[in-house]
C-alpha cells in the first residue's frame, strides 16, 4: 500500500505545481484592474483594464483601427486611445478589457489590444467538475484492488504462476 500512496502523492504534487503555475499566469497576464485603480496607483508597463465604454464617447475610425472613448468603472472614468487591429467588439455600452499602457503625462490610457470579458469561474468549474471525480474514482478503485489482493492472498485463493 505504501507504493500506492507514494504514486498518488507524486500525482498530487505535479497537479499542485500545474495549479500554482496557472494561478500565477492568471495573476500576471490575465487579471484586470478597474479605472479607479489606474488613477489611484499609476502602473508601469502593460496592464489590463476592465470597464464599460460610456455612451456618446466613442469616436474615431474603427475600420482603420483607431478610436478614442471613455472607459467607466464603478468610481472613475478613464480616457482611452486605441490604436491596433480594426476591432470587431468595440461599441458603446459594452463591457470589455483594454490592454496597453497608462500615460501619466497626458492622462490617457494608450490601448493596443481589446479583449473579451472572461468568466474564469466557468473555466475553473469545468476543470474541477471534469477532472476531480475521475481522480477520486480512480484513487478509490486502485485502493480497493490493493486491499482485495491482500485479502485474497491471505485467504490463499490466488494461484501465482
Amino acid at each position: 500500500m505504501t507504493a500506492f500512496y507514494l504514486r498518488w502523492g507524486v500525482v498530487l504534487v505535479i497537479a499542485m505545481i500545474i495549479v500554482g503555475m496557472t494561478v500565477r499566469d492568471y495573476e500576471q497576464h490575465l487579471a484586470s484592474v478597474s479605472p479607479a485603480q489606474i488613477l489611484d496607483d499609476p502602473p508601469h508597463g502593460d496592464v489590463r483594464v476592465q470597464g464599460l465604454v460610456k455612451a456618446g464617447t466613442l469616436q474615431g475610425n474603427l475600420e482603420e483601427g483607431f478610436a478614442t472613448f471613455a472607459l467607466g468603472g464603478d468610481q472613475a472614468t478613464l480616457s482611452v486611445e486605441y490604436k491596433g487591429l480594426p476591432p470587431e467588439n468595440l461599441r458603446e455600452l459594452k463591457l470589455l478589457i483594454v490592454v496597453g499602457q497608462w500615460d501619466p503625462a497626458s492622462q490617457v490610457f494608450r490601448a493596443r489590444e481589446l479583449a473579451l470579458l472572461t468568466h474564469y469561474g466557468f473555466v475553473v468549474s469545468a476543470y474541477l467538475v471534469g477532472l476531480l471525480p475521475l481522480l477520486l474514482v480512480l484513487f478509490f478503485m486502485g485502493r480497493k484492488v490493493s486491499l482485495l489482493f491482500e485479502e485474497i492472498k491471505q485467504s490463499k485463493l490466488y494461484q501465482s504462476e
Binding site: F122, V123, V129, M141, K144, L148, F149, I152, E161
Partner: protein, 245 residues
C-alpha cells in the same frame, strides 16, 4: 477459460496497466500545461474556450467507452467468457461516469457561450440518451440474480443501445443544432494548431486514462467475484459439515 488462464490474464493486467496509467498521466499533465498556459485564447470565445480541452476529450472517451462495451458484449455472447463480462460491466460504469462529466462540463461551457445551461438540442439530447442507456444497463445488472442470465441480457441491451452512437456522432450534421460541428473530420481540420495540440494531448491522455481505469475496474470486479465465490464455498463447506455432524 480455466482458473490458471484467468489468473494469467489478471497478472498481465497487473503488469501492464502501470504503463497505461503513466502514459495517461504524462499526456494529461502536458495537455493541461499547454492548454491552460501555453495555448492562445480563442478569437471569438476568448479564455472560455479552454473548457474545450476537458469537455471534448471527456465526450470522445465516453463514446470510446461505449464502443468497448459494445465490442465486449458481442464477444461475450460469442465466447461466454466471464472475464469479458467483467470488462463489459466495468466499461459500462466508466461510460456512465465519462458521459455524465461530459454533459456537466458542456453545461458549464454552454452558459457563457449560449447563455443557457441546457437546451434540447439534437447532440445534447442524444448524449443524455446515451447516459440513460448506460444507467439502464447498470440497473439491469442489479435486478437479475442469476449471473449467466444477467450477463446475457446486459450484453443484448448494450448491443441494442449502440444504435445511439451514430446518432450522437452525426447529430450535428443531420439536424440544425446549437452545438458546433466537428472540428476534425474527413473533410479536414478546422482548428488552428495552437488549439489542436493541447486538444489532441488531452484526448489521447483521456483515452489512455480510460484504458487504465478499465483495467483497474475489471480487476476489481473480478477480484470481488473471486472473493464472493471463495466465501460462498466456505459457507457451503460449513453447512455441509454441520449437516454431516
Amino acid at each position: 477459460m480455466n482458473k490458471t488462464m484467468i489468473n494469467r490474464v489478471i497478472r498481465k493486467i497487473q503488469r501492464y496497466k502501470g504503463w497505461f496509467g503513466g502514459a495517461a498521466a504524462l499526456c494529461m499533465m502536458a495537455g493541461l500545461y499547454v492548454g491552460l498556459l501555453a495555448s492562445p485564447p480563442d478569437y471569438y470565445q476568448g479564455e472560455v474556450a479552454r473548457i474545450m480541452y476537458v469537455h471534448v476529450p471527456l465526450a470522445h472517451t465516453s463514446l470510446l467507452a461505449y464502443t468497448v462495451l459494445f465490442g465486449g458484449s458481442i464477444w461475450y455472447l460469442w465466447k461466454r467468457d466471464p472475464l469479458v463480462d467483467n470488462m463489459c460491466h466495468a466499461a459500462a460504469g466508466l461510460t456512465a461516469l465519462f458521459t455524465l462529466l461530459a454533459l456537466l462540463t458542456g453545461m458549464i461551457w454552454g452558459k457563457p457561450t449560449w447563455n443557457a445551461w441546457w437546451t434540447w438540442d439534437a447532440r445534447l439530447t442524444s448524449f443524455i440518451v446515451l447516459l440513460l442507456i448506460t444507467i439502464g444497463y447498470l440497473m439491469l445488472r442489479t435486478f437479475i440474480d442469476d449471473p449467466e442470465r444477467e450477463a446475457r441480457y446486459a450484453a443484448v441491451l448494450a448491443i441494442v443501445g449502440f444504435v445511439d452512437l451514430p446518432i450522437v456522432h452525426f447529430s450535428v450534421e443531420w439536424w440544425r443544432t446549437l452545438h458546433q460541428p466537428q472540428s476534425i473530420s474527413m473533410r479536414g481540420v478546422s482548428i488552428s494548431s495552437g488549439l489542436l495540440i493541447p486538444l489532441m494531448l488531452m484526448s489521447v491522455g483521456m483515452s489512455l486514462l480510460f484504458s487504465y481505469m478499465l483495467m483497474v475496474r475489471t480487476q476489481m470486479l473480478y477480484l470481488v467475484n473471486l472473493l464472493d465465490a471463495k466465501k460462498g464455498r466456505l459457507l457451503s463447506q460449513f453447512h455441509l459439515s454441520k449437516a454431516e455432524s
